[in-house]
Symmetry: C2
Subunit: 145 residues, 2 copies
Amino acid sequence: MKITDETTRVWTTLVSTSRELVEQAEADLKGAGLPPLSWYDALLEIEDAGEDGIRPFILRERLLLPQYGTSRLLDRIARAGLIERRICDEDGRGQVIFITPEGRGTRQKMWPIYAKMLEGQIQDKLTAKEATTLADLLDKIRPAV
Amino acid sequence: MKITDETTRVWTTLVSTSRELVEQAEADLKGAGLPPLSWYDALLEIEDAGEDGIRPFILRERLLLPQYGTSRLLDRIARAGLIERRICDEDGRGQVIFITPEGRGTRQKMWPIYAKMLEGQIQDKLTAKEATTLADLLDKIRPAV
DNA sequence: TAGGTATACATGCAGTCGCATCTATAACGA
DNA sequence: TCGTTATAGATGCGACTGCATGTATACCTA
């Protein structure tokens, strides 16, 4: 079980690059008085669900979060008034989540901050070809979902 | 400020691949009744420091952790008896950290678990050339440290 | 249709994190 | 040498996470 230097370098650069970029995005958002990244992902999915809303367990699958994580994330976002939880007519155990106008507005305010970070930290630093190669290689080592 | 699809794909694969691999490693370690990854990194640095020990603020720089994070991480590791904190003769504000035999032993037990994950999730999935390319590309987007 | 099992979601608890602040010592400038 | 500023490290507090478990409804099988 010999681990090569290249493997170690992939591991360390992967973890630290990811961590630093995420921290950068979180700091930018916080600096603009906006919610964290996790809210963005959730709001985007909920907004995309449109008129029908979305069930928490579906959201959970999309966001790859643990069940309790989803439950509490929705709690917080709902407390901020950005989503609305309605009981689910078809399933008495469940609920359906809808985005509110405030939720839509907040997500829209988040995007420029988010995009600016992606542009400055990723897009400007890679050619289109490099970006494709990078994403392809990351996909190769990504555990099956 | 137009974000291309390649950029988005880099971002999402980067974040999710990193997260999933870290979770995998944490789960493997926990499954073996061993401490989390962060302890490994700290123990390794402290062990490498050898007879002289290491100052927490140096460790902080190496591990890229916040100051309070370092302080509390060392607290936990010390409570488990894996390191020893001694007062620093040269600097009355500070301390010097040394690894204990138990600490050495724990780190050694952690390595095979860690290595097995790196082997299975990274090394087996990439050629040496691909690994180098991947690490190089990650370095290109890594924020300056 | 009754009883068991599976699914949807919530939550108590303990551990960890981020933030701000605190204490103590060191270093430096007038 | 005294007062100011910088540095090393700890910590109270509130927010978040993981884990285990709880509650309620749905489904399924005999």
